[in-house]
């Protein structure tokens, strides 16, 4: 199982320097991918169902945010080894054709390092859709996402054939250069609904999970693999975002916390559940805090994990 890092392009104080520190840590510790989050203009109050959770989690996490693609390009330009993950972008809040071009350019300028995680957002994102002038999209966001994936692969493959969808029709167009990864640029689903997981086995390359405990996920992943097999697709890739809080008490958001040994055990559980990659989520935003958290993780958790993981394989 490999390790990756969630770049804090969000949370109060997120900055180029903090993101750069994440890039340095990834290179230093051999993390595979840097993942960024996507929000554009969240609501301050949240919808009618907004509760303490909204204020504590959504607002705290996303009130301050640097745009995902440009953040990723910035990091990618400065750190050449690591893969660049959109984790995840919400096409229905933007426009699929423009996004096709932006992602293709990101892939070109990073030498083919992009992994495009996609999602639709949650119920509480309705007001953000509205702020973006996309409230009509909110009710059809799943269908829009499905069409987006088809349109992207069409454009990225280099096809000049017309594209006729429900939301977008392109007959007279040119789209060059195709991304270095072409129509095979990996697209990962996200989201906790069954529909989201069904997308993985149907036409996507992987899944970026979030807030799942290994136990919660154990039963769901084999079904996704089976669906992919039935559709004649390669085995999908599983990346899991896991919040890491060494030495801390549990709180409302699912995380691996407490003593280093129990975090190592938790990671082994993810590996057993089929995860190919754990995306480490630290709360750190300032560069010095990013360095502190990643160094501590590498020392107290990563080395013991690798030893135990190797022993288990033997």
């Amino acid at each position: 199982m490999e390790f990756s890092l969630a770049v804090q392009n969000n949370r109060l104080g997120a900055s180029a320097e903090g993101m750069d520190a994440a890039g340095e840590a990834a290179t230093r510790f051999g993390f595979k991918t840097l993942w960024v989050a996507d929000h554009l203009l969240v609501s301050r109050k949240g919808g009618p169902k907004a509760d303490a959770w909204y204020a504590q989690y959504n607002l705290l996490e996303h009130e301050w945010i640097l745009e995902a693609l440009l953040s990723l390009m910035y990091i990618g330009a400065r750190h050449e080894k690591v893969l660049l993950g959109l984790g995840v972008i919400v096409p229905a809040m933007r426009d699929a054709p423009a996004l096709a071009k932006e992602i293709a350019s990101l892939d070109t300028l990073s030498g083919g390092r992009v992994v495009a995680g996609v999602g639709v957002g949650d119920e509480e994102d309705y007001l953000e859709y509205q702020n973006l002038g996309k409230e009509d999209r909110f009710m059809v966001r799943g269908a829009y996402l499905n069409e987006t994936i088809a349109l992207w692969r069409h454009l990225w493959s280099g096809s000049t054939e017309p594209f006729t969808g429900k939301f977008h029709q392109l007959t007279d167009f040119t789209f060059q250069p195709p991304p270095p990864q072409g129509g095979a640029l990996p697209i990962f689903a996200s989201g906790r609904s069954d529909r989201a997981l069904a997308r993985v086995g149907t036409n996507l390359d992987g899944y970026l999970g979030s807030r799942w405990s290994p136990g919660q996920f154990q039963d769901k992943w084999p079904a996704a693999i089976e669906r992919a097999r039935a559709n004649g697709r390669p085995k999908p890739y599983l990346a899991m975002r896991v919040r890491i809080r060494i030495g801390e008490e549990p709180d409302e958001i699912w995380s691996l916390c407490g003593r280093a040994e129990s975090i190592v055990s938790g990671l082994l559980d993810y590996e057993a559940a089929g995860a190919n990659e754990v995306v480490l989520v630290f709360d750190a935003v300032r560069p010095e805090d990013v360095r502190r958290d990643t160094e501590r993780f590498a020392r107290d958790v990563l080395e013991p994990y690798r030893e135990r993981s190797a022993l288990q394989r033997v």
């Binding site: 203009l41 440009l70 400065r78 702020n131 002038g133 060059q176």
Partner: protein
């Protein structure tokens, strides 16, 4: 007058190497800024110039990350083909990750030939209101960039409950300049925008039009606008043979043209080289610096900038 360069982010073969060749030349020669053109999914009739394009904001984020001393600029971005709120966030991000005083936001609406591109982007309806959309986009940006939580009620955008952070470093003073050749486009300058980005105009056209824009700014109590001129530079081409204005002819003629731009009051001369491949970019940039820019600077140093050259 500073020299800038239009990065080769469009035309067949546009590549990372071509972009860095332009940025390297800018650093080598002390040029001030890198300017990127905006097209996304054009029709086949525009394929030669814009069918092959690297998205400008992504390209500028890439170059901005690697070249910390250069200013970067959109020349020009077309908000009506995108969404104003989304762009507010992208531009604020670019400004934040680049650092203070490095971003210039040039905006426009595109030409009549761009109608199919609007449709390809799912914005067919916007094409006919693109001027009004641009005006509102600028107002919306300044609203969001000021840090206010007050609602924004426009024709195209309505925001009641939102939070926008981080703000651009200069907040709503982030430089927004506009391009275009129509009368409507020109009236934005000094009223709504902080400067003008001319395209395909020589000193003659600027001499006619620029004083009006200065007057508009003065009338509106705004500071003197910024003037950037996007100009084709063509070597070994007879001036009488070109249909679109270009700085061309002998080196002496080319220097004289640059002096004329400076005399009109151009703050930055944005060089458009006829090159996409890195070796061509380097060769033409170096030749322009050696044969034209250096003699121009020498001549300017010896003459009063306000008096026309002999």
């Amino acid at each position: 007058m500073d020299i800038g360069v239009a990065i080769p982010n469009h035309r067949a073969g546009a590549s990372i190497q071509g972009l860095t060749a332009a940025a390297d030349a800018a650093v080598r020669h002390g040029w001030r800024s890198l300017w990127a053109v905006d097209h996304l999914v054009v029709s086949r009739s525009e394929a030669v110039d814009y069918g092959w394009t690297l998205e400008p904001l992504v390209s500028l984020a890439y170059l901005g990350a690697l070249y910390p001393t250069l200013r970067i600029a959109t020349g020009v971005l077309v908000p009506a083909m995108r969404d104003a709120v989304h762009l507010a966030k992208e531009l604020a991000t670019l400004d934040n990750i680049l650092g203070a005083d490095r971003l210039i936001v040039g905006v426009g609406v595109g030409d009549a030939e761009d109608e199919i591109e609007y449709a390809n982007l799912g914005k067919a309806d916007r094409f006919h209101t693109r001027g009004a959309y641009l005006d509102e986009a600028i107002a919306l940006w300044r609203h969001l960039w000021s840090g206010t939580a007050e609602p924004f009620a426009g024709r195209f955008n309505t925001l009641a409950d939102f939070t926008f952070a981080p703000l651009p470093i200069r907040k709503d003073k982030l430089l927004v300049i506009s391009g275009g050749r129509s009368d409507r486009a020109l009236t934005r300058v000094g009223r709504l925008t902080d400067g003008f980005y001319s395209s395909r105009w020589g000193p003659t056209e600027l001499r006619e039009r620029w004083p009006g824009m200065l007057a508009t700014a003065a009338t509106n109590g705004r500071p003197r606008p910024f003037l950037a001129a996007r100009v084709r530079v063509r070597f070994d081409v007879d001036p009488s043979s070109t249909t679109v204005y270009a700085v061309c002819g002998t080196p002496e003629q080319m220097v004289a043209e640059l002096l004329a731009f400076a005399e009109v009051g151009v703050d930055e001369f944005v060089t458009v080289l006829d090159a996409v491949l890195p070796a061509d970019v380097t060769r033409l940039a170096d030749r322009f610096e050696r044969d034209v820019v250096r003699p121009f600077r020498a001549a300017l140093g010896g003459a009063r900038p306000s008096s026309p050259p002999d």
